[in-house]
């Protein structure tokens, strides 16, 4: 049997589960392929007629694979998981210290959101957020993959998390319009 696969089963690393290198820059196509490959082996639909033991094992595995896939697809979760693997806690809940200029920018974005009264305004805000998120992700990739600066990356991940929260608030604003 192949050594990588053995590691996948014993490790808590989502990357190892899918046989992927532990890096923030991720080949999403490879991830999807690995996900589909594993799901086709463990999914409950394969065991609908099997005994209780196999059905239970299938449910547990599929649940884990779904969770790992969901985490890796989301840049904030992916970075958080990587940092955890390197012993760094992102501490979303406890560490809320941010550089003043970032906070000012965030407050301005939120003011724009509150003033947005139609879907065109929300569309505009969302479009501007896409660029922000992309450059933040690029910075995180450099910090983690190139410089291995995990502590420094944690600050960037917290900033990215801020942007994602704003994204969710935009969703809520759209819903309020409907």
């Amino acid at each position: 049997m192949n050594a990588g696969a053995a590691k996948a089963l014993t490790s808590s690393s989502h990357f190892a589960l899918f046989g992927l290198p532990e890096a923030f820059s991720l080949d999403l196509e490879m991830l999807e392929k690995a996900y589909r490959g594993i799901q086709s082996q463990v999914h409950p639909d394969r065991f609908a007629h099997a005994g209780d033991a196999e059905r239970r094992a299938s449910l547990q595995w599929t649940t884990r694979v779904n969770e790992a896939y969901r985490s890796l697809k989301n840049p904030v979760q992916r970075a958080r998981h990587l940092l955890e693997l390197h012993g760094v806690d992102v501490a979303f809940e406890t560490n809320t210290a941010m550089p003043p200029e970032f906070l000012v920018q965030q407050m301005e974005l939120r003011e724009t959101l509150e003033e947005a009264k139609d879907s065109a305004a929300l569309d505009g805000l969302r479009a501007s957020l896409v660029g922000e998120k992309r450059s933040m992700e690029k910075a995180i990739a450099e910090a983690i993959d190139a410089r291995k600066d995990y502590k420094g990356a944690a600050d960037l991940v917290r900033k990215l998390q801020f942007l994602h929260r704003l994204d969710e608030e935009i969703d809520e604003a759209y819903e309020a319009l409907d």
Partner: protein, 620 residues
Amino acid sequence: MALLQISEPGQSPAPHEHRLAVGIDLGTTNSLVATVRSGVATVLPDANGRPLLPSVVRYLADGRTEVGYAAQARQAEDPKNTIASVKRFMGRGLKDVAHVESTPYDFVDAPGMVQIRTVAGVKSPVEVSSEILKVLRQRAELSLQGTISGVVITVPAYFDDAQRQATKDAGRLAGLNVLRLLNEPTAAAIAYGLENAAEGLYAVYDLGGGTFDISILKLSKGLFEVVATSGDSMLGGDDFDQRLFCWAVEKAKLPPLNARDMRLLQVRSRDAKEALTFHSESKIIAKLSSGDLVDLSIDTETFCSITQTLVNKTLGPVRKTLRDAGLTVDDVKGVVMVGGATRMPQVQRAVGEFFRRDPLNNLDPDKVVALGAAMQANVLAGNKPQGEDWLLLDVIPLSLGIETMGGLAEKIIPRNTTIPAARAQEFTTFKDGQSGMSFHVVQGERELVADCRSLARFELKGIPPMVAGAARVRVTFQVDADGLLSVSAKEGTSGVEASVTVKPSYGLADADIERMLRDSVEHAKGDVTARALTEQRVDGQRLLEATRTALQADAALLSPDEVKQIEAAMAALEKLLGGTDHRAIKKAADALNKATEDFAARRMDAGIRRALAGRKIGSL
């Protein structure tokens, strides 16, 4: 010289016997049963060649029931005992039921789910639905000449946990082995996708008799992946009938109607609605019990204008699901129309205008869900070899959460999460020395618990005395492949583990189902034991067959001793299967399940290894 054949690891060399599996569309207005025969999905008609079974059940004083067309014909004559659109009441309390004032039924407000008083006693919606399922089961067994090994029952994608559980209970009550609950738009996507070899992003717009669903799926070869879903489980063709009925009452200036007149006028309103699909004008004519004659004309334009709000109401969820999927209208390659109510021209027009493309109508909107369910049942029964089958990834439609301080709902698993899924959240105590915590499990998108659907309440007791905030109670939500939830809670810090697991049940416990089975006419002749024996035998056989297949494929994962242990457990079960002690069979089956636990886990691991190894070779 003959070549020796070696099968691929994990695949059984001998094709197993074909299992009879059917798909059932348990609809608000009509229900259908379909199966795959010689590779082709077909709807099974009744003895008179009619494919649909009207979802109408009439209870008679002598305990007999009439189901389908016969019951439908008596609606106006016997409205209190003739239950139509029972799907609207599944998993619902009395306060959730819309238009109570214009239904003729004698409702009984029961905890969890509303019940209906009939001449044959008080009936739960689960019992009424099981009558429909029983007729479909008989139809399938007669037509396929054998016992049905498993069924897939479809539910609206937007059904919540209570409604799903009620549907599964109805299946059990009808004596069916429910392999899976399948979302209706997903079933339609399977049928459409396979028929047309469709690839890319598709929307399924499903306006049925009583429910509305919109799902967006990513279709590719061998994979159906639901990206996002939304809907309204209280909106459907029935509401269009209702609008027309109200219009007629107002137009004809009718006084409050009795149950018979109300039902008659509702039936005539529906007929007029259906006629308006093909004609620009239609009539509502009804002779009331007072002798007065209602004679009204309605044209398409009026009908469109009085139902405009209903059509618009479907577009909110459509926008929401696009947003959840992170897509725009231009990303969607096609819109598949499902459900009889999509025949209405104003619905077709609104959907076409919204998506800026003609909706796809090339499958019969009444049958497509049952056909897709039959195809999925065929795969779940294992009748399709690996490689020719497909993977189906679905999501939960509504967020699941827990009540926190101040009546707020904390989301644990957000909507559109791929299932099966599990998520845990830690909670702590509020007071020093607090020894118990009560939890309230809710489903819905609203921030206030009062606006969400309450699924279950439970208590964790025996937390050792600690200062406030020191306890760590981990609450885990697990959603299975049917979209059904179970919740467990556990206190960890002190090393003392208090743990509790709940499955929301909505007033129907396992014991209730057993009692109903006992009470039902079909089993009144003291054959409860016989039925239990048959069920245990079928389950035991199934388990033996599954274990045999597993050993054949993967015995190499076990030591000779381990193989011997499993074989001993198999032999014990096999021996008892011939006997008549259903409890002993159950015990032996449980023992075999226990003996194969480790083996099952190792087989999963091996499967993952194969998947990873295959990919590595493939990517070289």
